[in-house]
Amino acid sequence: MSDHHITPLRTYLVIASCLFFLSGVTVWVSYIDLGSFNIVLAMFVATVKASLVAFFFMHLLWDDKKNLVLFLMSLMFFGIFVVITMIDTEFRGALGFNPETKEPITKRAPFYAQLPLTDTHGYPVDSHDDIHHGDDDHH
């Protein structure tokens, strides 16, 4: 409480110019096509900038360390949100670990062989290319 840290003006100016420089970096990299890495980079730069603001302008660096813990917690919760959501978006459509869905069982019961041939069934699947399985269109 009592000993307030006084930051020299110089530090503020240096940090401010870092922020301007990093804004420039954000704009610059947006013109380069890095694929999905673009967003990662943009978020990284933004996080660095926010941290600079928090640490220097908002005095987090000299503050009670409990506040630092809170700051890190917010990053952690953000991380949880993004990472777990990506468990969905990155695996969407993949049918998971069930071996049966990776190699669908294509054998049919023996009595199919005795049935007369029709449009909808009758071809023994084993001897025929499996053309109607839509399950794996995302692979």
């Binding site: 949880i80 777990i84 959501t85 695996f91 969407r92 998971g96 670990f97």
Partner: protein
């Protein structure tokens, strides 16, 4: 023991302005209480309207469009205007500073600001109602919510604003717990209600911003056509559900943790026994708060999310059961060999144990992917969340009101009426919602205004008991306010139940405007029934 003195916070500064501009946490709490209960009644009437429509198939008491509006408003009002803001806002505000021995919360002005922000948000909700309602369901799922011509914008704006009130209240409570405790009142000597409010506050400040972001993204898409959730614009509709439930699953803990705290106070006091497993209860609060952030996908098992995340979410969901079970068993063990008295608060607490256990266990059923694919969006889910939210949170809230009523307002309500109403709530609640489990298992979908013949028996049964439930809650609350309106001058004394935490032992009823006439000195823990004898000041 302190004699009841004339000067108290209810009468001390007089005049309407002294209320509107008050910085006293107790007055702010009372204002939250009154507005919360008004919204509770409003939501309750909407619910009874739905039950009337569902009393028989093909009823045309209201149109299907009106039905859609009514269930949406019912859910949104109950959750966003009553349960989330009003319970920490009312009981938390009134009690937290008293329990830690402080004169007020850490930031009294901010506290008043929270209340006004809440009221401002509530105006938007009222506008929505007057302007014809909203029909998306309280979850506002895209793509419908970006297309619906009903009042999605005012309602979500209202929720956005109320969210800030939650965040500021949370912040205030955290600072209060850290900074305002009297010397000697260490973390492990805090009443468990304080721990519960602390856990709730942590969830409020970490989860609520995401709700705000979600509502903003929804409006960006609606107004600016920025593709966030709409696949035609390059968005992802399931992403909306991730955003929404990343807030709203933790929000169910915002709703239940204060209730856990209330039960942890009622049971030891009315059993006159030291709480069993103090640290277990305290830490289970924190672990529930944390695990609550990792399970949101269990609301999305049929949304088309990846199978991998279904497995992960299902797996983590089971872990919620562990700290929850720890609490339930600790409460039961607290009563074991205690002197249990069946006062109204205790009857509510016992009802809570039954109802919340059923609600929590059916939650675990729903957490199993294979089962949830069948039960999702059926009445089984409706029954589950009413067992936890009404049977859990609201029953605990009623119990808490009865427990702290004599403290907060200095009058004792009629105990016989209170007991009858408490039984009525228990019976009416089970009669209303147990049949809904059966309906859900048989395939009755939720959010439908009518249904096929085979469901009529269970539905009409549910409607009948919902009337009993409605009456019981109504009269329970009228009974409380009746005593407040000075019709009943029974003086409960400063410590009617023989509680041991500071609000019982060191303040008068109702408390002094500055809470304590002299600085409170910490003498014994909140549950030291094995060490100190505290007399009850009220005998029936």
């Amino acid at each position: 023991m302190i004699e009841n003195v004339k000067q108290n916070y209810l009468t001390h500064p007089k005049g309407i302005m002294s209320w509107l501009l008050t910085l006293d946490h107790k007055r702010i709490g009372l204002m939250y209480l009154v507005s919360g209960i008004l919204f509770f009644f409003m939501g309750g009437l909407l619910a009874l309207g739905m039950r009337l429509e569902l009393a028989a198939p093909g009823n045309d008491f209201i149109s299907s469009e009106q039905y859609n509006n009514i269930y949406t408003l019912h859910g949104a009002i109950m959750i966003f205007l009553f349960i989330i803001p009003a319970i920490p806002g009312a009981l938390g505000n009134i009690l937290l500073p008293l329990m830690v021995g402080a004169k007020d919360v850490a930031f009294p002005r901010l506290n008043l600001a929270s209340f006004y922000i809440y009221s401002f948000g509530a105006l938007f909700a009222l506008y929505t109602i007057v302007n014809g309602g909203v029909d998306t369901g309280w979850t506002f799922y895209t793509p419908y919510s970006t297309q619906s011509s009903s009042n999605v914008v005012p309602m979500t704006l209202g929720i956005f604003i109320i969210g800030f009130s939650s965040i500021l209240t949370g912040l205030n409570f955290i600072a209060t717990v850290h900074k305002m405790r009297i010397p000697g009142l260490t973390w492990y000597k805090l009443p468990l209600f304080v721990w519960a409010l602390y856990g709730t506050s942590l969830v409020q400040i970490t989860a609520t911003p995401v709700l705000a972001i979600t509502m903003v993204l929804l409006m960006l898409e609606r107004f600016l056509g920025i593709g966030i959730f709409d696949p035609a614009l390059g968005g992802d509709p399931v992403l909306y559900q991730h955003f929404f439930w990343f807030y709203s699953h933790p929000a169910v803990y915002i709703m239940i943790l204060p209730a856990f705290g209330i039960i942890s106070e009622i049971i030891p006091v009315h059993s006159r026994k030291k709480i069993w497993g103090y640290k277990f209860i305290a830490y289970s609060t924190l672990s529930i708060a944390f695990i609550g952030f990792l399970v949101w996908g269990h609301h999305m098992f049929t949304s088309g999310q990846s199978v991998f995340s279904q497995i992960v979410f299902s797996f983590i969901t089971y872990f919620v059961g562990i700290p929850t079970g720890v609490k339930i068993f600790s409460w039961i063990l607290t009563m074991y060999k205690g002197q249990v008295s069946f006062t109204p608060p205790m009857i509510y607490a016992l009802s809570f144990l039954f109802l919340f256990t059923i609600g929590g266990l059916t939650g675990i059923f729903l957490g199993a992917v294979a089962l949830d694919i069948h039960l999702h969006d059926t009445y089984f889910v409706v029954a589950h969340f009413h067992y936890v939210m009404q049977g859990g949170t609201i029953v605990a809230f009623l119990g808490g009101l009865h427990h702290w009523w004599p403290k907060s307002f200095g009058t004792m309500y009629n105990q016989t009426i209170a007991n009858i109403c408490a039984f009525g709530v228990f019976l009416g609640f089970n009669g209303t919602f147990f049949p809904q489990f059966l309906l859900g298992l048989r395939g009755m979908p939720r959010r439908y205004a009518t249904y096929s013949e085979q469901f009529v028996e269970l539905h009409s049964y549910s409607t009948f008991w919902s009337g009993i439930l409605g009456f019981s809650i109504f009269f329970a609350i009228v009974n409380l306010f009746w005593s407040f309106m000075k019709r009943n001058k029974v003086d409960p004394g400063s410590n009617p139940w023989g509680g041991m935490s500071l609000e019982w032992t060191h303040t008068s009823s109702p408390p002094h405007p500055h809470n304590f006439e002299t600085d409170p000195v910490f003498e014994h823990g909140p549950y030291d029934y094995d060490k100190v004898i505290v007399e009850k000041t009220y005998k029936k």
